[in-house]
Each structure stands twice: as structure tokens, then as C-alpha cells.
């Protein structure tokens, strides 16, 4: 990825980042672009301002949410997925990375210390891809190192790329999960522009699994197209012929969703994309989704493929779905968001004991309110 411009705020706490860029300009103002796609080609390295650590903004009590936490220190993304919600979300469109690991860690330590009994799963992908801004993957590495010593936190890097080399020799202590969003090659090619192809993602998974990292898999968003059934079967087979289900800490499943404004943006920005043309229903949460019976069919089928390759031992959950969908897909459902939080901590404790500091106490999680 070549940037058209790199601007570094003179107040960044880690000026060592400058050595990664042959050319840059110094300014505390990021360049402004009205089109979010233009903003992807211009990098702004910023100091930390305000709080960056919070619970996932998509958390909605109408769903059984996984209540992950996020550090929003990356904003915008060099990749270009047609379904990316950023196109309807970002007001400042310049690709911005906060270069101040120390300050970020201070905030995390302070906030996570308030609930020492809880296993915080903390992602860095809320407004971008965790590993796509390659010159700055050094920050991901710094976070991996720092998380090794944080008892009650797991770092979650999530990517559609394959730039994992810098992670391989890092002492991570099992406290970082490297995750991939996965889709069949047909979708990657048409809808996930600029991302690594499936084969490259799988090779990268193999490398991090080899380096002892737990791997996360996100079949989200699942997208319907003619032949989707066979395509997702091939996808599952391709992944699990390369990596062992033992190395996979969890699997999330979700389907394509967007609000009406986003629909217009997608159709305007990517006129040749067909993702908005499928049968979709506007729910009471103002999001278009495939009709529930079709989603359930997709999820059940994917689960059966996972079962066939022995990946049903991995903790599998649905993203942004209601309890009735959980019940119809899994035959059971966590009783609350806190319960799901507990189940995830529990599965880590049982399957990846080095990644968690103590046995999770169910009562504490069940008492969480959102």
C-alpha cells in the first residue's frame, strides 16, 4: 500500500515512527477529504486525544452481543470492502493511526483494573483493519508485547490481510488472538477490494498458529449469491485443511446487514456490486438483513460444514442476532449478554488456559448490566 501523502502530527509521542516513511509532512491538521475512499490513500499519524477504549459501539441489548471491547486508535482502512460501514460513518475520512502505545495502555490498564475478575477481549478493529497499515504494524507488535503482562485482557487483532510477519517472533504469552474475517474467494474478489486473497489469508493463519497465537475466525458478513452453499463449504474445507481446529479459539458467524443510508452509499460507491440486490428486510433496528429464515438456513449450513471438519469444538457464536435466532440455530441461547461474556471467558479458560489468569466466576458476569 502506497500512500499519496503521509502527515505526522508534531505532537506524536513516538517520533520513531517517522523512520518508516521516506517522505512525510509535519502538521497537526489532518488533510480533509469529502470522499472516504480518497481518505484511504492519505495517512495521518496522530497523538492520542480523548478516550479510545470502550465497549463495541454495535452493542445493542435487543441482540445477544459478544460485548467485546475496542481501542479505536485506527480510523479508516486502506482496504475497500463494498459493505464497509465506514463509508456511512466517518466524518473525518483521512486514514488516521494514533501513535502513542503508552497512553493507550495507560487507559486500558486503568479501566480494566476496575473489573479485575473480568476477562476483557479487546479488539483494535472497530474503525479499521488491525494489520492493514503495514508501516505502522509496529504498534500492533507493541500492543502484543504489552498485553502479555495484562492479566485480565486478551488482545484481538482482526484483519483481512496477511501482514503477520512482524508478529511471529514476538513474546505474546498467548494473550493475543489473531483473527481473520473470511469469505469465499468469489466474495473476496468482488466485494473485499484490496484485501489478501483467501489462500494468502490461510497461509498467514498457519504462520500465526505456528507461532502459538490462538486464531479467531469470523464468517461475518456471510453473503448470499448464486452458489453460496458450495462456496462456503469449500471455504470451511480450505481453512481447516490448513489449520487445526485446536488452534481456533472462537468462530463468529453473522450475515450482511446495513441501514438504508448505507444501502444508498453502497449502490452509489460500488454500482457493480450486487450485495444490496438480494431479498432483504428492514427490521425494527433500522437494518436491512436477509429474511430470518434465510439467515438461519445459512448459519445452520455453515455449522454443519464446521462440524464435518471437526471445528464444532471451537466456541461458535452469532453476531448481532436475537435470542430466537440463537435458539433455532444452536438449539440453545445464552440468557443474557453477560452470560455470553462468561461463556467466552469459560471457553478460553478450558481450551487456552495460558490465555486466562483465573477461572471465570459466572455470578460476576451474570450481574453485568448494559
Amino acid at each position: 500500500m502506497k500512500f499519496k501523502s503521509v502527515t505526522v502530527d508534531p505532537h506524536v509521542a513516538e517520533p520513531s515512527v517517522l523512520k518508516h516513511f521516506p517522505y512525510y509532512s509535519l502538521s497537526s491538521q489532518s488533510p480533509k477529504f469529502s470522499d472516504y475512499r480518497q481518505g484511504k490513500r492519505h495517512l495521518f499519524v496522530a497523538p492520542k486525544k480523548g478516550e479510545l477504549f470502550h465497549i463495541c459501539a454495535s452493542l445493542d441489548t435487543r441482540y445477544i452481543c459478544c460485548s467485546t471491547h475496542v481501542i479505536s486508535h485506527i480510523s479508516n482502512c486502506p482496504f475497500e470492502c463494498t459493505y464497509c460501514f465506514l463509508q456511512n460513518y466517518l466524518t473525518d475520512t483521512t486514514l488516521t493511526v494514533v501513535a502513542d502505545t503508552e497512553a493507550i495502555m495507560r487507559e486500558i490498564c486503568y479501566k480494566t483494573a476496575l473489573q479485575p475478575w473480568r476477562l476483557f477481549r479487546i479488539g483494535t478493529w472497530e474503525l479499521g483493519d488491525s494489520l492493514a497499515v503495514e508501516p505502522l504494524n509496529k504498534f500492533a507488535v507493541d500492543l502484543v508485547r504489552r498485553f502479555r503482562d495484562l492479566d485480565n485482557c486478551l488482545l484481538k487483532l482482526r484483519t483481512k490481510g496477511d501482514a503477520v510477519e512482524p508478529l511471529l517472533d514476538v513474546e505474546h504469552g498467548g494473550k493475543t488472538v489473531v483473527s481473520w474475517t473470511v469469505n469465499p474467494p468469489e466474495i473476496i474478489k468482488r466485494e473485499e477490494i484490496g484485501t489478501a486473497g483467501l489462500e494468502k489469508r490461510i497461509q498467514a493463519m498457519k504462520k500465526v498458529a505456528g507461532a502459538g497465537y490462538p486464531v479467531g475466525l469470523h464468517f461475518d458478513p456471510m453473503i448470499m449469491f448464486s452458489g453460496w452453499e458450495a462456496a462456503y463449504k469449500r471455504l470451511v474445507e480450505a481453512i481447516f485443511s490448513a489449520i487445526d481446529p485446536e488452534d481456533v479459539i472462537w468462530i463468529s458467524i453473522g450475515s450482511l446487514r446495513f441501514n438504508p443510508e448505507m444501502k444508498k452509499k453502497i449502490e452509489n460507491n460500488y454500482p457493480s456490486s450486487r450485495i444490496t440486490a438480494q431479498e432483504m428486510i428492514l427490521g425494527d433496528d433500522n437494518k436491512f438483513r436477509y429474511p430470518r429464515p434465510l439467515r438461519e438456513e445459512m448459519y445452520r449450513l455453515l455449522l454443519s460444514f464446521l462440524e464435518e471438519v471437526g471445528a464444532d469444538q471451537c466456541f461458535t457464536y452469532l453476531c448481532m442476532e436475537r435470542w430466537n435466532v440463537w435458539e433455532r440455530v444452536f438449539g440453545r441461547c445464552p440468557s443474557s449478554i453477560g452470560h455470553l461474556d462468561y461463556l467466552m471467558a469459560q471457553t478460553v479458560y478450558e481450551r487456552f488456559p495460558q490465555s486466562v489468569f483465573q477461572k471465570p466466576q459466572k455470578a460476576f458476569y451474570m450481574a453485568l448490566t448494559y
Binding site: K264, R274, Q278, E279, I281, R292, P293, N324
Partner: protein, 330 residues
């Protein structure tokens, strides 16, 4: 009769064929059928052209020697229809800014619909008015917020097909509504206009139909004409049914094509309701989006003994079976 008084004008008598219409907004309105000339033509028949037309000789004029009409379009039309050889024309010299002020005073007060405003804003830019002046002065005169983004929206609307614009003007569609149509395929908007008169096109129905058809054609990878040739669509359109009935059928057919899974399941749910619950003294509704597992049961009673019957009906085997079956879908 329209009249403008402009200082420093000279009156010429010239051939109507030598007048250029590029600076006359009335001409733009006429092009899309928004200009009614009948009444004026009647009065011109009686009295002829009493007041000279006004043409401008400005820095906007690109073709040397041509006079650009700014006032008197209907009179010119009439003169051309009558094959008059000479008409009185007052020529004036104006700067771009003078012209803008002139257009605003002449047209802005009478432009009420979103479409007419959109066309007017596009016209001003086309005849060379400065963009910033259009934002600051024209938008304000039209009662709009002086905002560049809003101007872009109006300009987008002005790009809609002419017949469609005329329809939106006639129905006085709002900015939001018109803007929504700008995201539809042009060929679809043009084709839909052929149905005017055959089906009742309210704003919301038009929106629904356009949204649905454009989604279907993208999903099926067919073009607009192929859509209208689909058996289930063509059969309805070609039928002699009464307008509102035809509209209802067309709407249902389009919904079935757009939501095949949902309509199939809705039908199954309705069949269950008919089979088990239709004869019972309460109504059962479900979430038509199929998302939420929730049945809403309503009943109304007037006498206390009806209450006992209602209670009994809840525990009847049909009620239990029907409700169980309905719930099993959620």
C-alpha cells in the same frame, strides 16, 4: 400579461427566427411540459403583441449577432406559430450579476415545487451565473438554505428524465422524495412514466415500485424492459382491469418478486391462521418482518358472557394448535 421594465433598452423590430432561447427559463419549463400557453395565446389572438419582448446582448452571449431572449417566450412562440415576420424586441446590455438579479426577480417568487427550483438552479449555472452567487443569492430567493451541499442535491434532481421531472412537479414531490428517485436507473424512471394513467401512482407507491423493480432487475441481472416482459408483470399491465385494481395486483406481483421467501412464509402463516384460527373470536397478528417471536392476540367484547366464551376459545384445541404452529415459524 408579463411585463418587465428595463432601463437603457433599445427597441428593434426583428424576425422571430433570429432570437436565441438559450437564456430563457420559460423555455426550459416548456421543454418539460410545465408551461401552459393556452390562455395567453387566446389573449394574443385578440390584441397581438402589445409589449416588446426583451432580449439581452451580454458577455454571456457566445454567438455573435444573436439576441438572447430573456422575457417574452410565450409571445415569441405565438409569433413563430403565426409565421409573423417582424416582432418588437427591446435589447438591453446586462452583466452576469444584473442577469442573475433579473432572473431572480422574474422567476423566484413563482417557483414553488422542488423540481422547478432544481431546474431553475441548473439553468442559472448553465447560463453562466457564478456558483457562489447562486448559493448566496438564488437559493435564498427560493427560500432555501444557502448551502453548497443542498445545491448539489437540487442539481442531482435536475438530471432526472424530463417526463419524470414533469410528473414530480405535477405531484409536487418533496426534495427528499425527488432525491430518492435520483438513485434509480434512468431507464426505469422513463419506463414507469408509460404507466401513468394505467395505474395510480402516488408518491409512496412510485417509490416502492421503483425501489422494488430496481432491486429485482439487479438481482435477476435483467434490464428494465425484460422486467416489464416478465409474464406475471406483462399479464397485469396488458389487462383491461380497472386502474386501482390493476395497481393493487401489480404491487402484489412486484412484492412477490422482490420478497419471494417472505411472501412464501407469509402465505404459509396466513394458511395456518385460516385453517385453525379464523372461526375463533380473536385475531392473531405476527411480526411481518419475521424477525421477532411475538404474536399479538386481540379481541373485543361487549358483554361479560362474551368473555367466558373468549376464555374458552383460547383453550380450544384449534387455538392451541394454530398458535403452536404459528410460533414454530419464529
Amino acid at each position: 400579461m408579463e411585463q418587465v421594465s428595463i432601463a437603457n433598452s433599445k427597441i428593434h423590430v426583428i424576425n422571430p427566427g433570429h432570437i436565441d432561447l438559450g437564456l430563457d427559463f420559460s423555455y426550459v419549463l416548456d421543454l418539460i411540459g410545465l408551461w401552459n400557453t393556452t390562455r395567453l395565446f387566446d389573449s394574443l389572438e385578440m390584441s397581438g403583441i402589445v409589449c416588446p419582448l426583451v432580449a439581452v446582448d451580454t458577455d454571456l452571449s457566445t454567438r455573435k449577432g444573436s439576441l438572447k431572449l430573456i422575457d417574452g417566450f410565450k409571445r415569441l412562440e405565438w409569433a413563430r406559430q403565426k409565421d409573423l415576420e417582424k416582432i418588437p424586441v427591446a435589447t438591453v446590455h446586462m452583466t452576469n450579476m444584473d442577469l442573475l438579479v433579473f432572473f431572480l426577480s422574474k422567476y423566484a417568487p413563482m417557483l414553488k415545487s422542488c423540481v422547478s427550483k432544481a431546474l431553475f438552479l441548473r439553468f442559472l449555472l448553465k447560463v453562466g451565473a457564478n456558483r457562489q452567487a447562486v448559493v448566496d443569492k438564488a437559493m435564498k430567493s427560493l427560500g432555501l438554505q444557502a448551502h453548497k451541499g443542498l445545491l448539489e442535491k437540487y442539481l442531482r434532481i435536475a438530471q432526472l428524465p424530463e417526463r419524470f421531472l414533469a410528473f414530480c412537479h405535477k405531484k409536487d414531490f418533496s426534495l427528499k422524495r425527488c432525491l430518492n428517485f435520483t438513485y434509480q436507473p434512468r431507464a426505469l424512471l422513463e419506463r414507469i412514466m408509460d404507466l401513468e394513467g394505467q395505474i395510480s401512482l402516488s408518491a409512496s407507491l412510485l417509490q416502492e415500485v421503483c425501489d422494488s423493480i430496481s432491486e429485482i432487475i439487479r438481482r435477476k441481472e435483467i434490464d428494465v424492459e425484460e422486467f416489464f416482459q416478465l409474464d406475471e408483470i406483462k399479464g397485469i399491465i396488458d389487462s383491461d382491469l380497472e386502474c386501482s385494481y390493476k395497481t393493487g395486483l401489480l404491487r402484489q406481483a412486484i412484492r412477490r418478486l422482490r420478497y419471494p421467501a417472505v411472501t412464501r412464509i407469509q402465505k404459509e402463516l396466513c394458511d395456518i391462521e385460516k385453517q385453525y384460527l379464523a372461526s375463533l373470536p380473536f385475531k392473531v397478528k405476527w411480526d411481518e418482518t419475521l424477525e421477532n417471536r411475538k404474536l399479538i392476540i386481540t379481541a373485543s367484547i361487549k358483554q361479560i358472557d362474551e368473555f367466558s366464551r373468549l376464555r374458552a376459545s383460547f383453550s380450544s384445541p384449534e387455538a392451541k394448535e394454530g398458535i403452536k404452529r404459528l410460533l414454530s415459524y419464529f
